[in-house]
Symmetry: T
Subunit: 155 residues, 12 copies
């Protein structure tokens, strides 16, 4: 059992998942996504804590305090703030935790303004375009990374 504890954070409009533009985002709700992530974590001996906020400031707080609150890594879908927020970029760096950027759709294949990720340079990895499965794949990758770090440390 890994024992890792992951903070799963979703940003603006993701509370509308399943109701909003299903042609792009599918019909699963955010609760469905959270349940899938929890199960995937449990199956790997890890735990997650999920939150969502439309407010950039609350996301900044959740990210930058994640280390103090006992998390080992962050799974972040920053929604539209991905493309505009330097504050989130700073928060990720302030957290000093490995952070994986996830997206339901593949932003690079949509409007041009979705091609710039403000937060990517502070993230270790990105998973995008698999629908809700992006969260689960991101979690697996993040847990693998933490496992590897721990085994490297133990030598």
């Amino acid at each position: 059992m890994s024992g890792f504890n992951i903070s799963v954070i979703s940003g603006p409009n993701l509370d509308r998942l399943g109701k909003r533009e299903p042609a792009i985002y599918g019909t699963a709700t955010l609760d469905d996504v959270h349940r899938a992530v929890e199960e995937a974590a449990k199956a790997r001996g890890a735990s997650v804590s999920c939150m969502q906020s439309n407010c950039e400031g609350e996301l900044v707080t959740a990210i930058s305090h994640a280390g103090d609150r006992g998390f080992h890594g962050i799974l972040l879908n920053a929604g539209a703030y991905t493309h505009t927020s330097i504050a989130l970029y700073d928060a990720i760096r302030a957290s000093a935790l490995p952070t994986v950027e996830v997206h339901i759709s593949n932003p690079d294949g949509r409007e041009p303004f979705r091609r710039r990720s403000r937060i990517a340079p502070a993230c270790m990895a990105r998973v995008a375009g698999f629908g809700p499965s992006s969260y689960v794949l991101g979690l697996i990758g993040l847990l693998g990374h933490l496992e590897k770090l721990r085994s490297d440390e133990r030598g």
Copy 2:
């Protein structure tokens, strides 16, 4: 009587209307504007519900949940977030309601950074530059649009 119910949403710094830079924005307060919109709606058999917030996240919530809360359309003055917020753009699209962008001043005639509206591609229309009357004109146009949609549907 139209029976339409419109969400009137104002963004950052609009709580200062009437006190802030009167040369640009005039002397009417936001309460004055709300009263004018309410009267115009009432005169057309419609109702409005007005709110203001300086917080982008609260605006996102108000917009994206407007349909669930029983509104038929949105009248939105996003203030400075007009020029920077992709989250509001996403929220308008998530709402799937006809949305009219209104502005007290005419942003295209001011600083260059006010010439780009992030939210315009998600809005059906824009009214700008008439002072507080922009709200009333926007409401009339929005109600006309809804009326026309209804009559088209009824065939």
Copy 3:
């Protein structure tokens, strides 16, 4: 009765209104629009004079001489010249009359090259996206503005 006299000017391709790309521009013809504007003016004790030209130079002349010809304000749909013509911008400033920019569709929500309005900095206001109703809403707003100016002058 207001007694105001408004010059209503439409630019290139608007003679094709109702025949051209109805999915974007609707089925009303320019004559229909002119009639609607005339009625709205009459109902408010004002009068309008409508013209259309595909030629940038004729639009420049109509605008820059509008004051000498006894108009109190201009309602202008410059069509595609909106995005390219500095000459129209100069003409509006030369006219020294309050000018309202109107559009059938909402240009900011279409091709990127429609997002820049060359004439906006010379206009007091903009109404866009309400179909032919944009003309009527623009007229109401312009008459309200002129009324307010007169009542301010009279103290």
Copy 4:
């Protein structure tokens, strides 16, 4: 015999063809070009009607009304307006006719400002750089396209 009727439209400065910068544009006059196009059309059972204007507005009118005037397609050398005119772009779309963009020289190989064609996205095809023969080749291609459309329709 095809029976197609094509509108051949030439823009600014093309009345100077044969006199203007022969190193770039050759020595044939616009009358020579018109004769060559007429012969090529006749040989294919089609007819053409040729006009030239230095005025953007007259070109807009000629293009946008071409369908009403009984033309089946447009052969357009918009000269310098190619690079600046959104009004012509709108006119071509308003015409709803297949339009072929032709050029005497090859604009992409000249000054940088000739590399952007404002009208290309509304045109079905382009022929450039063959001197006056560009018109004839464009006509052949356009007639072939119309023939194919007709035979497709007839199934």
Copy 5:
């Protein structure tokens, strides 16, 4: 006596000179300017022919045919078309006559979009910012240039 014949061409909104924004353009009318140019030409044994048009196409015609009409040089105030018209650039080159660009105000010191002259690369010289005197100074410079060409030719 020089015997040179100069075409003096003024573009959009210059018919409003003296009435339009006097803080920028002064109080002299275009007729005053024409008289001053005529006198300056006469004093130097030259003649001028003055025209004004708001229509880009008419300016194209006037310029590109100037050589055929017996002019030895062109004095051109293209107004706002200076900044947008490639057609005028082509016309000047098509004319093959020495052309001097003149401006009442100094465009480089005004709005950024007035800093680019589309026609300058086709002009031999520019005079700007001296008010109506720009025309007279431009004429003197142009006549001097023609005189020098003639004396060079005569060896």
Copy 6:
């Protein structure tokens, strides 16, 4: 004693000061900074009131209402919002109070996206790069400015 009352406002991630990237931001906490500013104010007969928020909307409110709340000036470290927020720019102008922009590090010497300050055009001055001392130096400069204004007024 000056009697001036200054609003000291810090933005996103500054609650992490002392814990976040000490190589860039040092080891002093925001509480340490607040104490230093309070002492510096007291020593000059002035008072300060300090707040921090990660939420752009709360910063907008704090700034735009500062005048009504009895402050004479604002000391603002807007953190990452410095580079993206037009809403803060509007709030500073709405406040009509002299505002000094302070930064712990020197943003111009870091990532390119930190070189643009959205709020600078609304601020009277900037102090950056002295670590926590930037706040104290900014306060001294602001008090000096207020003192000078008062003595100018008293003549």
Copy 7:
């Protein structure tokens, strides 16, 4: 057992994996990666076929013919061609197969020229930054997607 057959394609310099800049790319070789992908496929009842080429043209061929060769999806690490190749973009679209873009490192966090993916708009998804595990995660996501498509089809 899924029975899906996936084409795993790696581009320029990936034959140097494990030898090239291990601080960025790690010590696993491309053979190690291929083995891991094969095992992961096998464990899910799928099969993969792996190839690598430094030549853009060979990658174009491998991708555009993948459907004809019996593959159901593509896992593509285009290396540096990711940022420059429109030919690969066309090839992916020509293949009409679901394609997942994978990267060892997280390109968005490196040099600016790695932030633009030419191929992303043609890809359904992206996985980046997990080291060699990016391939395995991409495969799992791709198989999940194909499974879902099949079950949707079967209704």
Copy 8:
């Protein structure tokens, strides 16, 4: 009989013609196109030699050696390399042969990145948008050009 020998060269993904995105590129295969070009050449007493490669380097070789191999001109559809390859531009100039750029679709009317042709400044002409007929029209134009050169030389 002209006796001219033309090298017909097609670039990346054109081997997929007829199978790839038929809505854009039609249903004719590259073999069909080659046959049509051969017939058109034969009918004019000329001969062609056709090749296709997905590899930029092979195209460079084919073009730059075309003169040595006895060709009098080149018909080139460079596919996606049109927009990115300076090496092809250099190869065309190295060949010193008249080269006509052809395209099945009209690239200027598609994605923005297809609007820049790297090779156009080295080509004498362009034909685009007529489907496979672009090749035939390009050939006719090229043979006409060679014929004219020869008759000028024999002058």
Copy 9:
């Protein structure tokens, strides 16, 4: 007699006039130019003082101190510093004297980097492209301007 005293200032490389690239700059030396300006001034009852320096700093000093040294206006050919020097722009504004920008050639018709004048926004006028006569024409225009100012003052 006007009695005006003008500072004539020439910048880098103008000491090479007549020796440097005569195809662009002609064969007159700077001494010739100075003599022509002196004569033109004398003929109008004015005097000039001419200097040249290759050093930006000396030009800054000459310009910014011109008022203190008794000059009424400045005739400035800043050479290549025209396009790069904000220090000269500041110096002209610091001088508070009417300044005319002159150029031997017409910079707008040459390399693109010569199209931006850093100093133009601080200058009242520009004369360019008349060869050495640009200086004389600029002087005449400047003296006319000063004369007009004086006559306006005397009312």
Copy 10:
């Protein structure tokens, strides 16, 4: 007593301080500023040496040799060279001394070309917008920094 020795360097046009555009720069002369800095230094047991030059090369020399000449830090107002000079940037780095950038006005709030500081990435800090007090505040901050460095070293 600190014993620190600071080089105070002012660039182009600052010799005009107090005479030049007092609305922007105030009425204090550079001598006044130097006296204020000297007093502030003396009060803190430090000494300063002040110089000014309009010549970029002399500023380069003063800065790059400052260490050899016994200075411990640099206070630099580079005037307009701030925005254009890479040579000064190199000189500051060559000096290896802590350098504080000071400005009388707040450049970020003025013309756009004043928003880019070429030298900022080489400076430890910036003070701007306090009028002549910017120098004194910059000195205090610089001395504090040096004091801290010394106490850190002494451990």
Copy 11:
């Protein structure tokens, strides 16, 4: 004798050297260049191995494997790929060998698109513009560098 072994690699179109545009590239063939480089190497006790390819992928392979193949450094003329290829940049870094970029002509003095070298940031040095001598000078410089490294290592 140095004993160093250098890989000399030439890219697209360099097989045409001596035949292609001799005004720019001279009359020496690539064989001539290879002989000159071999002689210069031999004279310094070093050896070279020369290859040329038009294919980007083959160049990537040659560079990235150079170390494994026993070379101590690379002399690279990447031709047009210099300006477009990130894959070559990656290959040079993957090789971890000192690489000198050479060019026959001076690319910075030609078309604008030749001013950006994609590979320069991975190269230790550049020699350009000396014709075929660029190769020999580059070799001398590279051998000098290797010699110096060796003598530094030997202490």
Copy 12:
């Protein structure tokens, strides 16, 4: 003996060579470099004259007068002015002498602002990145070029 006389000119901050950032520029002083160049010249029967200045104006003078002073070529390290100075570009062209641009480091591999050379289009060649040896290699290349020119002339 060649008898050629070369002007070796070094720009801003190069007097600090050997003391400034040795990690980038090495430990040799400018005197060391000058001695190496002198020896290399002497060994080839040529002579050099070396100078250094931090002042752009003095460099302009040295370059533009080099021909009059009897030099046959110029070896120029313009330091930071390389990237900003059009005046040096003009001076090199004014000199009409073959000029080789040399750099100690490889500017293209450093900060982005070092990638643009303003002077390159006026230079025949560039050598960069070999440390002080860049000067010697540049000299050898320049002498070879002069030798070749002489032997070509002598035929």
